[in-house]
Symmetry: D2
């Protein structure tokens, strides 16, 4: 089987590269993956997958950090002008850029699901000739949007897996479910698909990432220690006044924001694990001689466990509101992203390691990575486990030109071939997991 | 008339000194002036004054900063053992240490009222031989209570005025009202007498002080710019927890107090006049390795006008409460003192200046003093003006050994003679004011 | 004389309006008054004034808040394209947009100086048809630059005074000095002209403003209580780090800025007068999940006296630096504006009031205005007084469509006529001051 | 062997109780264990141990948190009056209350060292009849000193081990070293003994504690996760001023302390492990109406590793100093305690577990405890390991009447018998470790 898979994969490897570079060139930020999603849907449909999209796979209210309507409309037009599939495009209108594709083998067997994220970052890509995408002409043409985290590779890998599986459908059992998720950056999108129930019938769930701190040929297959997190924005609305003439008439939103920031960082440590809090952005005030009537914060909390993160977030909210009350102003808080902590299923990790043994390009398997981040695939992992299934999150190493989220991020494209082979093999043997 | 008054005053001058030194030796802090008040009441009564005391002249609920019951009981016993008049003493039980004495001449004419404060400060008097009261053996025998602001002089002056007037009653018109007030320090007592109505029938009201920054022979007769003020205590009750083992279980009262203090000081300036805020004392926590569950603040606000002070106090209260809510703890606020701002009545100032012209020891009259403080006689002044009367606050200068509120405070006792003469003369000519 | 002046003024009144509307349409912000200054210089020169410009009247190092080179170059080009006088324009290159014009009568007599400010504000003018300049087609064509404080009127008045005086030169004595100052907004320009000595020989100095809270026909001629002020920017440079992965590697510039802002506002009140402090703008951080490595503050202090302002500013600087040291980051502080407090000369105020008596349109003279602001003409006023001269700051009332610094600010242009008459008359009688 | 040890231990069990109750009744706080140390030294000497004391076993400069001279002199007198051994007492003068006792068997073999701490806490013991020591008449007679952490048991166990070993000396090999340490509470004493070299020759080192969260019959023998810690006091000295009259003259120590406390708590989390910071006590100011000129903090930092604690402490120091500079005041910092983190030696833990198997009263062995605290035995453990030896820290469970550091703390005295047997057995078999 692995030989057949390998051959098929190597045959489409040039296409994988082509796809990836096309996605890279047309990088689209979260909830605006109009072009990407329409191309994904179109291809999957043409390969015989049962494709579901838009509001069928995304719960409206569970979406987080959705850009404003005007931006989305403009992005949809941009996508069309950049070659989006017009028929599929309208499914995603209003920022419902998720795609779920099902291959039902007709044979009894488990449902295996793969999470694929498609969004780019709000980063302006380097135009330096030292940067391969720039040199080769596939740097992002969209201002301030760049695939600097490898989701272009993820999308191509997802398509590759889908294609290869479609070619060997007769040898498979159970069902294959490919879940193409929007807005993973900022951990905004997964929850809306979970709430729509897209993983409720998944028995084996695998989310993947490329890169991080693993080299080409390394597989990280263990507990990555993802931190639970909540991302939130705060808007303080006070009252401006002239700082010389009548300062007593002002309600100072800047000082409220400063007090909130300081006291949020002073939230107690937690004895049961790591906790985090950050006010990453603070913008306040309109002019030097005006008591500031407006302030905006972008903040986040994290924790080793979902409970610790909740503890941190609830304390932070109390502080945000109390700081408003301290300065007699209004505060509004918007949750714009979130993720959970999640322990992967040990049995599934073992199964994946077994399959990886058959992939010659994988020469070593590591149990963990260095520094933990956050991921909203954890929502899917948790839901699958709650429903009695097994979950895992694995990383395919690759050589990086620069770190993730860097304007010169780039990677060795061979990782796509390794990932397609491994994931396809997992799907083939899903009934033995 | 002035000659007669002068003669009578000089005759009793040795007694004034004797009284003053006796009061000094038995200094009693606010609401515990049991011995002083009983002696004052006894003497005034013996001179034919209609004397009212205790709950008849003090409104229970309007008292501020009253010590606890245990302390008052202990002080009452102390007073008795130090020679309080037992019969009068019981009138003052429970901290109702006010005395109002009325001399009704039977002749038509205005009611002139004098405010006399009797309380000492919570200061341990110097025992240095450089300090005259210590050298002469009349330093306070009461621990941590000292007449370091001259209220011993005020009480003696009040008695002196009362005595001289009683001797010349037949030549007087209208009514004389002497108001001996408790707890001026901390601006705690005047309001309770005002609320009981003791100045409601006063046509001409004069409050006096000795010292400040005027020399012997100087009279300050103008607008002293008393700042309105509110004194308040804050108690924060959080929850202790071990700082190493389970810090997340604590509710940190110390940090709430710190946040409150910082943000209170950041209350905006006021364009219409001077404002003040001070957290003078902060005590928090029980041990180095315990998240502090308790914190206490002693604070105050002030303002050029009663309105500015109210503005400051209301902002401070909001901050105190918000800081509690920030740390999920409880806050209780007790108002323990207060005073208003008050413009003296120009006509009455003119009248007093006229009388002062006849006092040979007064060689100069100043309109104001350097640095403004707060005084609760302002409550009486305002009430008198509201009822259509005239109010003034004047200062009789004297040579000081050390500044007010210093452990070596002392003054030239001749000021008592000057004050008795001036105030008595004002009372004699009250019908011409 | 007044009749002659009146007639001449009324004759050029349509021209005053024309000039004003032209300046309004081509509003130029501080240090970029290239077009305005070149037209002013050209006209004054054509009327026989000895005109000095650029580096001859502006001290390079004493300039404050000068925009960057690129902006200035772009503005100079813009000015040229909008009709600046090319010959004079080059005198102002690099932001030296000051003009001093002298009319020497040849007769013995005092030197009388007038301060005229020419700069616009960084405000986008309203395009509403309710706004007269928009309706009449003379709203500012320069983005985010608007004469919303009346300096367009000031410039026209200055030209008007210059023209009328040039017509009656033979009747004058002494010398007339017209000082056209850049960058009064933000109190950035006056000091650089003072340091160059332009008021050192002025015997009588009058700075003027229109509007404020006075009506048409009212003259404010007294002490406006200008607050001394210092404007400053702070840049904090820390170190970014990932807020989830390695927060301990960050040096948090946002928290330093928050601590600085809070503690600056907590600087003690000053017993000798009004004090102010404001952090009007705070921008910090680059992304939600990044420990902020950068923060910027725009701040100011003020005081009733130059000493109080200095006290406030010095405390603020200590706090700014200590906050940097608290978070192990760097702080740089740039002073971008400043003004002094200044008592006007009582004799000169009297003289002006005398002249105003002869102006029929002036029906009332007020001593002061409501709420004090800051003005850098105070630097000139102080210097003149130090050199033995007399200084005054007066306000010609006018009807306002909206308050100063409002996007719909507009005024009754008749004020220009009143001002020209009054100031011209002052110049005529300068020898009698 | 174990039978012999058991018999000997049971025989002296009543004496263990007697000793323990005597120490309990005469509880002595850190560096004032004059009576305890003199009795310990006297007994050990009488049993044939080579006893070293005072400055021979304690490095003067490495002592932390030593009380002032006056207190120590008074305590030494108190000890004498309570039955201290006068001859040994003088060895400890000035707070050098450490005892090291060596039993050299003359046979080749390793040196095994036991750490025994002797100090009480600054707690007033309950006098309730529900509290056994009070009911039985052995509650502490020393005000505000109480054995509420079981160090009275530790001392008795240490003596018990010493006695039993002295009785079976002929069967032993190598050397026994008993280290009786002062001032473990506040982690103040161990370092001074380490710096004097008392553990430099120890091959096997065992520190013990009773209670914590283990029951009678349980042994905790693993990694207790002791947090490294630094304890420090801060004194801020500013300048007082009257809050109404001249607030600008004050240098506010209270606000500096508040700023320090808030910003210390805002020190970033550390990604490599747990960190802690606590300002447990803050006392500032002298009176409501006085700008506070003095403030005192009691604070501590902790960390999973010595490096994390150092990171926290260094950040805290920077903040403390910067807060002083912010308010233009002085700060002095005194380190008054400290401990390291330390991994126990796995081989030694295995050896101890082996011995425990032979103690019938020990029915279960746990690997760890719930919530980690700090211990200065870690200094000894680290030093022993640095010199090539092995270290362990074990806990003998017992039934507690109330938690550690509670005024009703008490325990089941049988734990002393279990501990003596186990430790003695370890010493007997030390050559097999």
């Amino acid at each position: 089987m692995i030989d057949h898979i390998s051959k098929l994969t190597e045959k489409i490897y040039p296409t994988l590269i082509e796809w990836r570079r096309d996605f890279h060139k047309h990088a689209e930020s979260g909830w605006a993956e109009f072009r990407t999603a329409s191309i994904v849907a179109s291809k999957l449909s043409s390969w015989g997958y049962d494709v579901r999209t838009g509001m069928d796979v995304i719960d409206t209210d569970a979406r987080m950090g959705v850009p404003d309507k005007e931006f989305l409309e403009q992005q949809e037009k941009r996508a069309l002008s950049q070659g989006a599939d017009p028929e599929w495009l309208r499914h995603f209108s209003g920022g419902f850029t998720g795609v779920v594709a099902i291959l039902d083998t007709g044979q009894p067997g488990p449902t295996i699901g793969f999470r694929v994220d498609m969004d780019a970052l709000d980063i302006q890509e380097s135009s330096s000739k030292d940067h391969l995408p720039a040199r080769e002409g596939f740097a992002s043409m969209n201002t301030n949007m760049m695939h600097a985290c490898g989701h272009d590779a993820h999308t191509s890998i997802g398509l590759g897996v889908a294609y290869v599986l479609s070619q060997i459908k007769s040898r498979l059992k159970g069902r294959i479910k490919l879940i193409f998720q929007p807005a993973e950056e900022g951990v905004r999108g997964a929850k809306s698909m979970v709430e729509k129930g897209v993983v409720d019938d998944v028995d084996l769930f695998i989310a993947t990432h490329i890169g991080l701190d693993a080299d080409l040929g390394e597989l990280i297959c263990g507990n990555l220690g993802h931190l639970a997190t909540t991302k939130f924005d705060v808007t303080y609305t006070g009252k401006s006044a002239h700082a010389g003439a009548n300062p007593e008439d002002g309600k100072n939103a800047l000082l409220a924001a400063a007090a909130a920031a300081l006291n949020m960082h002073a939230i107690s440590r937690h004895s049961e694990g790591q906790s985090r809090v950050n006010v990453g952005v603070l913008h306040a005030g309109s002019g030097r001689n005006i008591i500031p009537g407006q302030a905006h914060l972008k903040a986040e909390t994290r924790g080793t466990t979902t409970e610790i993160n909740q503890h941190m977030y609830q304390k932070a909210v109390k502080i945000v509101k109390a700081a408003a009350s301290m300065y007699e102003i209004d505060a509004s808080i918007d949750i714009v992203g979130g993720a959970e902590s999640c322990e992967p299923s040990e049995e599934l990790l073992g199964f994946i390691r077994q399959q990886a043994d058959n992939i010659t390009e994988i020469h070593s398997v590591k149990a963990t990575t260095g520094s933990p981040g956050s991921e909203d695939a954890t929502y899917m992992m948790s839901r699958v486990q709650e429903k009695g299934g097994l979950s895992a999150y694995i990383v395919f190493g690759t050589k990086l030109a620069a770190g993730h989220h860097n304007e010169r991020f780039d990677f060795d494209e061979q990782v796509m071939s390794i990932a397609v082979k491994t994931l396809t093999l997992c799907a083939c043997h899903a009934d033995k997991a």
